[in-house]
């Protein structure tokens, strides 16, 4: 049945020949070959094994006193670790979700409330916000202030005011023991 109809259609349209079929198959084969050659070249630009091997960072929290902050490097970018005071924890937990542009509860952003660990690049265009050092401007909400385009983050690293669309991201964090974390 199928063979018959194929035969009939070949007769009705005399442009379709075995040569057209070969032409298509040969071109397709060439395209597959070019793709097979292109893929390793493209893939070689993805992160290499030595880069992936640096994709986790361990941090000893012991020297960080309450109220102090530490910036560590994870995947080439800063991560903010803040040993929050009781006041900061209360403030972060007390905010109603309706007030937040990017609604997220503080409890969803920390493993232990006294340790806030967030990515240190503004979600607007990637600058590093101020607020880690004692003398830094911390913005209107006591967290961080990005000097590039004026984004204000609160004590949970959530965006409160300014052009940034999202909260400072929370990286994957695991407590190896009470005072050691693994980021990534």
């Amino acid at each position: 049945m199928a063979a018959d109809s194929a035969h009939a259609s070949q007769k009705s349209q005399d442009e379709e020949t075995r040569r057209d079929f070969l032409y298509l198959v040969a071109t397709a084969m060439g395209a597959v070959g070019a793709g097979a050659f292109a893929w390793p070249l493209v893939n070689s630009m993805n992160p290499s094994a030595d880069v992936l091997a640096l994709a986790s960072t361990e941090v000893d929290l012991t020297p960080i006193e309450v109220g102090q902050s530490l910036t560590v490097v994870w995947r080439g970018k800063p991560v903010f670790i803040r040993h929050r005071t009781e006041a900061e924890i209360t403030e972060a937990a007390g905010v109603s979700l309706d007030e937040l542009p990017d609604q997220e509860a503080d409890s969803d952003r920390v493993v232990k409330p006294e340790w806030l660990i967030v990515g240190g690049n503004c979600t607007h265009l990637g600058c590093v916000p101020l607020g880690q050092k004692t003398g830094d401007e911390k913005g209107e909400f006591g967290g961080w202030f990005c000097p590039c385009h004026g984004s204000h983050y609160d004590t949970s690293g959530r965006i409160r005011k300014g052009p940034a669309p999202e909260n400072l991201p929370v990286p994957p964090v695991e407590f190896l023991d009470d005072n050691t974390i693994k980021i990534g």
């Binding site: 390793p40 070249l41 070689s44 630009m45």
Partner: protein
């Protein structure tokens, strides 16, 4: 010209009217009339072109991972081999395709020698080819220095020291080439810059090479000009298919080396980091330089050896005027044909001598083969042009195929008469 472009696509027509790229592609790759009797030896031009493209594409990707500094170069290459995704594949393609590029180009050149493709009116076409060969040799040499292994370092030292042979200015030239008093970081940096640049210069010369080629079209196995359209066929589909088939065979042989013996044509010493204090016991260049290296070593004088080596390529520039025979193809030159094969065997012998230690029998054979190399060009070719009695040439490309076949000849009778 553009009236030959057959398309109903309005966008293509609009663009082509303003920038006739489609017409040009049509004229050079589709409708381009080529002699209808080209054999498989004519595949190697397009294969060399393919090799050039593969080298540039893989080279750009490798350059993204490579560090041109004496302290990091070797390790950055090892990182490519071990850590970069598919880096081993990209580097082995680049390494082995370099050899296959030379294989294709050497066969392409011997084909030109056998069929007299360098003769009028294709002298400039041939000379541009020799320029491409020189650029390739410079590029390959500098590329071999980049991994900064023992062979890289000592190859660079030996080859740059060639220039010290020139009296008075030699030492200054070498210091200038090195950017210091030995092959060191400045040398590596400039070699990397030039290794990246020269392939694009090659692309430019290839474009001019093709321009010159398309002026009179390809030579052919009979070595006689096409007498008219009946002697030619359109490039597409006849030669696109033939070239594509050649590419398949070429890549099959290439894959054999790539996947089963990727270091066959390399030297283990280059996997030892460069050490300016120790020279490897046996240093040899890559195989494609061996015949020229043999010529260099067979002359006992430093300056003369260097000059002889450069002359062995330089002499190709004046080949069209050394071979005075009006007949192109060796098919109709009963004596030249034998001398061609003798010359070919002599080149292989030089290659063998080049990788042996320069003493005893290899040294003697190298001296004889070097002498014969130049005798071939300077004595045999000019004499043959006068003394050889060529066989009668066919009237046209079609004639040897069609003569005697009554029915076929009848069909082609009209164009034959025109010819």
């Amino acid at each position: 010209m553009s009236e030959h472009l057959k398309t109903n696509n309005a966008v293509i027509k609009w663009i082509d009217h303003r920038l006739p790229v489609f017409s040009m592609m049509n004229e050079t790759m589709i409708d381009y009339p080529a002699p209808k009797n080209l054999n498989y030896w004519w595949n190697f031009g397009s294969l060399a072109g393919l090799a050039l493209v593969v080298m540039i594409v893989t080279g750009i990707v490798l350059a993204m991972q490579y560090t041109a500094h004496v302290d990091y170069a070797f390790n950055s290459v090892e990182r490519i081999m071990r850590d970069v995704n598919g880096g081993w594949l990209v580097r082995y393609i680049h390494m082995n395709m370099a050899s296959f590029f030379f294989i294709a180009v050497f066969i392409h050149m011997f084909r030109g020698l056998y069929y007299g493709s360098y003769k009028a009116p294709r002298e400039i076409l041939w000379m541009l080819g020799v320029v491409i060969l020189l650029l390739m040799m410079a590029t390959a040499f500098m590329g071999y220095v980049l991994p900064w292994g023992q062979m890289s370092f000592w190859g660079a030292t030996v080859i740059t020291n060639l220039f010290s042979a020139f009296p008075l200015i030699g030492e200054s030239i070498v210091t200038w080439l090195w950017g210091g008093f030995s092959v060191d970081n400045p040398t590596l940096n400039r070699f990397f810059a030039l290794h990246y640049l020269l392939p694009f210069v090659i692309v430019g010369v290839v474009a001019v090479h093709l321009w010159a080629l398309h002026r009179f079209g390809s030579n052919n196995p009979l070595g006689i000009e096409a007498k008219g359209p009946q002697d030619k066929i359109p490039f597409h589909p006849y030669y696109t298919v033939k070239d594509a088939f050649g590419v398949g065979v070429f890549l099959l042989a290439f894959s054999g080396f790539l996947f089963f013996a990727p270091n066959f044509m390399g030297h283990p010493d280059n996997y030892i980091p460069a050490n300016p204090l120790v020279t490897p016991a046996h240093i040899v260049p890559e195989w494609y330089f061996l015949p020229f290296y043999a010529i260099l070593r067979s002359i006992p004088d430093k300056l003369m050896g260097v000059l002889a080596m450069f002359a062995s390529i330089g002499i190709l520039f004046i080949l069209p005027w050394l071979d005075r025979s009006p007949v192109r193809s060796a098919k109709f030159r009963p004596v030249y044909k034998w001398f061609f094969w003798l010359f070919f065997a002599n080149c292989l012998l030089l290659g063998w001598v080049g990788q042996e230690a320069a003493e005893g029998l290899p040294l003697l054979l190298g001296r004889l083969a070097t002498a014969y190399y130049f005798i071939h060009f300077l004595v045999i070719l000019p004499l043959l042009g006068v003394m050889e009695r060529p066989k009668p040439l066919p009237v046209s490309i079609s004639e040897p195929v069609l003569k005697g076949g009554g029915a076929l000849a009848g069909a082609a009778a009209k164009p034959m008469e025109k010819a």
